[in-house]
């Protein structure tokens, strides 16, 4: 599924969304959500391959798996929060989009705390 088919699919879908927007704006919004999910469904296979490759490299370099796992979780949270925020912004609800992004940032911060603690400890060990 190369980029040409994906772009064609996106354009056709956008035309349908615009067509629906006059009479039924709520259905147009749902159609755009479906479009986003389907296009992501096509790409997820490639993303999974990249993620597995990175995991293999990390194992070879015997990095601590916790770090890489946290990074991937942060990427996942960022993606889902971004997906929701974009959909809400498309629907004209900027305030809700901002709240979703805020929640995403807080969750990412919570996930990053163990790593920050690890860094601070290693630094203090080095200094002392």
């Amino acid at each position: 599924m190369d980029i040409v088919q994906i772009v064609a699919f996106g354009l056709i879908g956008t035309i349908l969304v615009v067509l629906l927007k006059q009479q039924r704006p709520e259905l147009a919004l749902q159609l755009s959500i479906i479009l986003g999910v389907v296009i992501f469904g096509v790409i997820i296979g490639k993303i999974a391959a990249v993620v597995d490759l990175l995991k293999e490299l990390a194992n070879k370099a015997n990095l601590n798996v916790m770090y890489l796992g946290t990074i991937f979780k942060i990427i996942g949270i960022a993606y889902i929060a971004e997906f929701g925020a974009q959909v809400c912004r498309d629907a004209g609800e900027g305030a809700i989009a901002a709240k979703l992004e805020f929640a995403g940032k807080v969750l990412i911060m919570v996930l990053a705390i163990p790593i920050i603690i690890m860094i601070v400890e290693t630094i203090s060990k080095m200094l002392s």
């Binding site: 629906l20 159609l31 389907v38 996942g76």
Partner: protein, 65 residues
Amino acid sequence: MNVDLIFKVAGIGILISVLSLVLKQAGKEEQGQMITLVGLIIVLIMVIQLISQLFTIVKSVFGFF
């Protein structure tokens, strides 16, 4: 790449807007509103199923446990 889903939803949308217009001419405004609601709910069910698939995929790929 289930393209048919997009055309299904677009078809429902167009059908509903036409039906509600026809019902408005026929003077049955409330039936028109009902039809709109029914269509909205049908598409909503489809969207919810798709979004749950998306979230399970993202969970599996990015290692959420």
